[in-house]
Symmetry: D2
Subunit: 181 residues, 4 copies
Amino acid sequence: MRIMALLGSSRRNGNTEYLTNKVLDGVNHQTIYLLDKKIDPIVDERHTDEGFSYVEDDYEELFFEFLKHDTIVFATPSYWFGMSGQMKIFFDRWSQYMRDHRFDFKEEMRKKKAYVIVAGNKPDPKIAALPLIQQFNYIFEYVGMEFVDYIIGNGNKPEDILTDTEAIAKAKLWNDQLKTK
Amino acid sequence: MRIMALLGSSRRNGNTEYLTNKVLDGVNHQTIYLLDKKIDPIVDERHTDEGFSYVEDDYEELFFEFLKHDTIVFATPSYWFGMSGQMKIFFDRWSQYMRDHRFDFKEEMRKKKAYVIVAGNKPDPKIAALPLIQQFNYIFEYVGMEFVDYIIGNGNKPEDILTDTEAIAKAKLWNDQLKTK
Amino acid sequence: MRIMALLGSSRRNGNTEYLTNKVLDGVNHQTIYLLDKKIDPIVDERHTDEGFSYVEDDYEELFFEFLKHDTIVFATPSYWFGMSGQMKIFFDRWSQYMRDHRFDFKEEMRKKKAYVIVAGNKPDPKIAALPLIQQFNYIFEYVGMEFVDYIIGNGNKPEDILTDTEAIAKAKLWNDQLKTK
Amino acid sequence: MRIMALLGSSRRNGNTEYLTNKVLDGVNHQTIYLLDKKIDPIVDERHTDEGFSYVEDDYEELFFEFLKHDTIVFATPSYWFGMSGQMKIFFDRWSQYMRDHRFDFKEEMRKKKAYVIVAGNKPDPKIAALPLIQQFNYIFEYVGMEFVDYIIGNGNKPEDILTDTEAIAKAKLWNDQLKTK
């Protein structure tokens, strides 16, 4: 099992990162902070004659690194009731790589398992983040990736999440499962 | 009534733009193509001592232009079952302006009416775009903006949308209403 | 094409019935008022040795009538943000007929097309009825029935629906399509 | 604290009942099995001159018993991606009691806290039951009842639920909280 944690937050040491660390404590993995990467929004060239052209930023390297992992922990704060813009851009760029002839996109995706961690605050994310969970589910269904499970944590300020006993308990259960694999 | 169409697509002449033009045909309005603007993803500094700092890009000018309008048509393709990354970044940056002392963010928002146009393709966006509609609803509820209505159009390639008679019919109804105001 | 309108309202002459009549005006069809039928809630005997036993009420006759139609208009008011209890019981009883050896349940269902009409009031059903639309979608996906489209109408008191120009316009579009088939 | 468990299943000893027992183990409470009650679907008389008339079944007694409790555990299997018909009828009948002059319906509801337990099977209820959770949320928001939290358990045959370690862990956390109140 090769695990990647993909952190979508626009700051370090936030609640999604805290939960992700709980989940992966003692488990071999690679962490990517999207805020460290220069990734441009997609320019849709699906319907042009030439198709998509190469983009000069950090995405290509990141994407091939992503392909090497079979278990992905997508961790994002709930910003405006959705994933962060940083993470959204990560997914939008898939539209280019779906048409890439160097590999079979959907075949690669079907080998992967996805875990999702979302943290938000008011209104209660256990309800308000459900459309985001549904969006993740549509994404994973579309590409054939297995959606193992999700954690919705409640917290705003750093370390708020410590008081969300359910989210912490679920993170520990995931940790137990990932350790024994 | 001052109307702004905010286009989130990453290409011109797409189906969301076509529907938006139908809605605003003969109606005085300003159109913003987000793809023309340089807008950086937010850097979350809510919990730092200094708070948010000024960002050198096109957002500040765009945001003050946005404030001058009372009716906003948010038009975005469904990319990966959500709004485009470009539009998501537009909303994410609100988190900085909510804390701005030059104006009262929520009071400004409460004066506005929102229309939403989404276009997508497979699977059927009339179902698959519903989490996105729910996300828009959460956003508008949170800031107190009136969510007048939404159109979900079915189309992928340019001009596909012409065959979605329901979306076109609804765009014409909106057009009739906006013309008489 | 054999069309059945299945009305879930607990009263006659309501807004869902009005919309259904618009949709089926001049179109040959059979209308079933669930409120006229005596249908007991399901008793779950899936996990008993004997399985389900025959129930003495109007359901068996109704269900075989239902099977004879290939296009079903499911029309229900939004009661407490869901379909009416009467219509829910109609679906719950499917669990018995899925295990019936006299016919192949899923094969029969795959031949059918579903239209859904929902009418509600406050809060705005165009948002608040979306979980119900998602539920219908799950049901139809599960049994393989094609979910053609849905109308969400806004109305509470009888004839309120007349002022929902969008719902009326959509009903007329459906009517045009159904007439020419 | 006076706790009522309202069980919507159409059979005894199912997975929702098992989870409910875990939650309420050692906690003083009253359990109502809706399958033991004769409750007719609502007949909507809101728009008649006389309004609603008294119905001869078990609902009135049940409803006044319900009013005496301040913490309600709503437990239902996911039948066809919604609450059971039995539980839906329970809510539908509220429409009559909202107009009852013997007490102030919304004031009574605002005093109550709601816990929701749902158990389902395929497709994965952690996704497929989300519209049902959203429906419960709309109901509770509408009447002003606090929606404390929900558990979605995965199980079909009796005792399947024992293998859903997350649902069991969450039930124990709730149990700890309820015991100390």
